[in-house]
């Protein structure tokens, strides 16, 4: 049974001479494989005036190399029955291909090729710029939740690049030059800044040999510049209110919290689950179910964040309820956590939910690979094995303590979206 075998015992891990990190995990249940290349670069590595460049480059990664022209990547993957996609986050840019196991060599070749030989044709950049602008319209300009989230992030961080939208400000998307994209690619798309993970039906030693032969040829690059910005403590509440074409208001509350490097991280993870993990969770049961103040309500913590990030609360008021009411109620829930211990049942339920989610991930090669990558990026895939132990160790007193330590009124950023009269 996969979960009874610690990840550390089954993963074949290697670091090539050029610095490329490789994790391979055999899973022979189906003749399929998920191959993922994770670059340690995201909007976190961007500068003011050039936000969105990591995501723009992600789009360009599908636009060809000298040996494989534009569209060839997707074509080769699809005609071999594979599915490919990618995403950019604040911390990482991830590319994946899920495909029949006997096509693994092809994917390795394609990924090694675009790690070093990307065309970045200015003509292709020009047309893709329009696509990215359309993407921003869909996700942000015309989406009330996306729009508000961006506004809150941008006031919550005044020093750290987590305040930039991942897709970039519209003005920056329009301005970024091909030369800047090329420089960004050269800086960050180097083997020593990347992680290759594959999970599926293969023989790990043979695959490692192939990865050495294809990726191994790529020269090591200079170590990419570190992100030096540290967000200073927040000294007072920050607030933004926007009016937008929408049917119902939205309320976001965000607090600066530590990330996984802190001993408080497991408690914050459990806290997030107690607040919003399912219909028995506090925010759902009280605000959505019992009092019907909200259509939706929840909280969210990003355990895997590379730098300290926000712990989010959010709610959509029911028709007839106001954003003020929901803001007050969300804050009351937070205050209650500071003074009143959670029940044994709540604590046990949250832990079981987190542990169970881990077991369910094992059913998919894609999710298994992504989870290994997530842990590797915060310090080592072996951390996966101690994660549940850390979660199990969290006590009710820990929750009271972290709530008191991190959710001060002056550290709060508030966003309110109000529907514009049509």
């Amino acid at each position: 049974m996969p979960r009874e075998v610690p990840a550390a015992e089954r993963v074949v891990a290697a670091t090539l001479d050029n610095g490329l990190r490789v994790l391979l995990l055999e899973d022979h249940r189906s003749p399929i494989v998920s191959v993922q290349v994770w670059y340690r670069v995201g909007s976190r590595d961007e500068q003011r005036g050039a936000t969105g460049i990591a995501h723009f480059l992600e789009h360009m990664m599908f636009k060809g190399t000298p040996t494989r022209g534009p569209k060839q990547f997707a074509r080769l993957v699809e005609e071999n029955g594979g599915q490919d996609n990618a995403f950019t986050s604040q911390d990482v840019t991830s590319y994946f291909v899920d495909i029949a196991a006997d096509k693994l060599d092809l994917v390795i070749e394609l990924e090694a090729d675009r790690m070093q030989n990307l065309l970045l044709d200015p003509k292709e950049i020009a047309s893709e710029r329009e696509v990215v602008i359309e993407e921003r319209r869909t996700r942000t300009e015309d989406d009330p939740g996306g729009f508000l989230g961006e506004e809150v992030n941008s006031i919550a961080f005044k020093a750290h690049p987590y305040g930039y939208p991942i897709i970039g400000w519209m003005e920056d998307i329009k301005r970024i030059t091909p030369a800047e994209i090329r420089a960004f690619y050269k800086t960050y798309y180097v083997p020593n800044n990347a992680l290759v993970v594959a999970v599926g039906a293969f023989e790990a030693p043979a695959v490692l040999g192939k990865i050495r032969r294809s990726f191994g040829r790529i020269p090591r690059g200079k170590t990419p510049p570190p992100v030096l910005a540290v967000e200073p403590p927040q000294n007072g509440e920050r607030r933004v209110t926007v009016r937008k074409e929408a049917e119902l208001p939205i309320v976001y509350l965000g607090w600066h919290v530590p990330n996984q490097r802190s001993n408080d991280a497991p408690a914050l993870e459990v806290l997030s689950t107690i607040l919003s993990g399912g219909r028995a969770s506090r925010l759902y049961r009280d605000l959505v179910y019992q009092r019907q103040l909200a259509l939706e309500a929840g909280g969210d913590y990003s355990y895997f964040s590379i730098d300290p990030n926000l712990f989010w609360f959010w709610a959509t008021p029911m028709p007839g309820q106001t954003s003020e009411t929901l803001e007050t109620e969300l804050s009351k829930h937070m205050e209650r956590l500071k003074t009143e211990p959670v029940t044994d049942e709540e604590l046990a339920r949250a832990k079981n939910q987190i542990e169970s989610a881990f077991v369910f991930q094992d059913d998919s090669v894609h999710r298994r690979a992504a989870l290994l990558a997530r842990f590797e990026l915060i310090g080592g895939y072996e951390l996966k094995d101690s994660f549940i132990t850390k979660i199990r160790a969290v006590t009710a007193a820990d929750l009271t303590r972290v709530a008191g330590a991190w959710f001060a009124p002056e550290g709060k950023s508030v966003g309110v979206l109000l529907p514009k009269a049509r």
Binding site: M1, R29, S30, P31, H55, E58, F62, K71, A74, R75, E79, N80, G81, G82, D84, N85, F87, T88, S89, I99, A100, S127, R129, E130, V131, E134, R137, T138, E141, D142, P144, G145, N153, I166, E245, A246, E247, L248, Y252, G277, G278, R279, A280, V288, Y289, Q292, L295, E296, G298, D300, S302, W314, T316, M318, I354, S356, A357, V359, F360, D363
Partner: protein, 441 residues
Amino acid sequence: MTARADRCRGAARAVVGLVGVLVSGPAFGAPLAHREVLPNGIVLLVAERPAVPIVAVRVLTRAGAAFDPDDRAGLANLTGALLTRGTAKRTGPEVDSAIEFVGGSLEATAGRDSLTVALSVQKKDLTLGLDLVSEVILSPTFPPAEVTRKVSEIQAAIKRSEEDPGTVASRALSRLVYPGHPYGVPVEGTRESVARLTRDDVVTFYARHARPDTTVVAVVGAVTVDEARREITARFGSWARPAGAAPSITPATAPPSPREETVKRELTQSTIMLGRRAIRQTEPEYFPLSVASYVLGGGSVSRLYARVREEAGLAYAIYSWVSPARYGAAFAVSAQTRTAEVPKVVVMIREELARMTREPVAERELALAKQYLIGSFPFRLETSGKVADFLVAVEDQGLGLDYADRYKEQIGRVTARDVQRVAAQFFPPESFSLVIVGDTK
């Protein structure tokens, strides 16, 4: 709603879900599942997947929105939402607490054709999970307070969905493609129709439509056939089959004349949707139609993707899909573009539809579409949950457990001539209804 950060490159793939699992192809020849019919008519499907200690269960009964009475749109949806809100043994919150305490999930939802209860649990919690499933199916109490609560929640959700241009467009398109047919009415109903629903409506609807002889149970995961049979029979064996025949509805008849509709929204982008009637998987032409749709707008190398997104930079998301159901099927194309360019994108879509009818697709396009549809199939059956979804759908839609193999065979046989023939039948641009949601003047 959370401030998620990930930015996918292609929305098209994410939307493939709209197509449903049934556009996918086959597995590897081995029988997908054990099938047997219990004495009361329940079809039991079991697939043993011992490697991961989890079990997925689906109970599907033919109580979908297609059976909503004319003046009671949203009744099946409300009924589904209420199933977990109280049983003879537990209140709704007790059901929630029980399943979530073991880190499992239990959801009941109605779709167009059927109502499905979905359970996911670790193997060690299977007894509890099945107890909950059987309580929810066999002894829902539909408490009056829960009915009131759920009605206002659904009304609020409908109101909120009015801010999502994709939802607004697909509702309008369904109305144009299926006038006078249940599929033309949203599964969730309207705020007005939901306001009229009563507890009596729910009780009557459930009693009439939830019956063992239209129920399919799939048990997939770390479980044996014997164990599944024993556990399901113990819980559902005494569910009595009613005397009369199960209710049925008339399949959608001749396609309506195409119409156009615009919905004004103050947005920077407009959503374009074109659609028309198509055919189900039981028709031989369904397979060439699937290939034609893939060539036109299926993936990241489709004609529409290449022309509208890659060459013209006019859209982030553009795709086409076939949407088959038990009592009718549709084919649709969707794109989102900046408002000023709507006319240009509509023309491009119409031109590409017409070109498919005029000339045969190139061999390479054909091969790619077929290889993708066949080759990507194993991922559609990757997890126990996906297998369970596939099994109940195949059984309910009357496709047979060999559908996966037949699909592979049928897709493999499609020729360029077949594609052009179905395109000539289903792609004439003038046969499509058109919906535009955006800042129209």
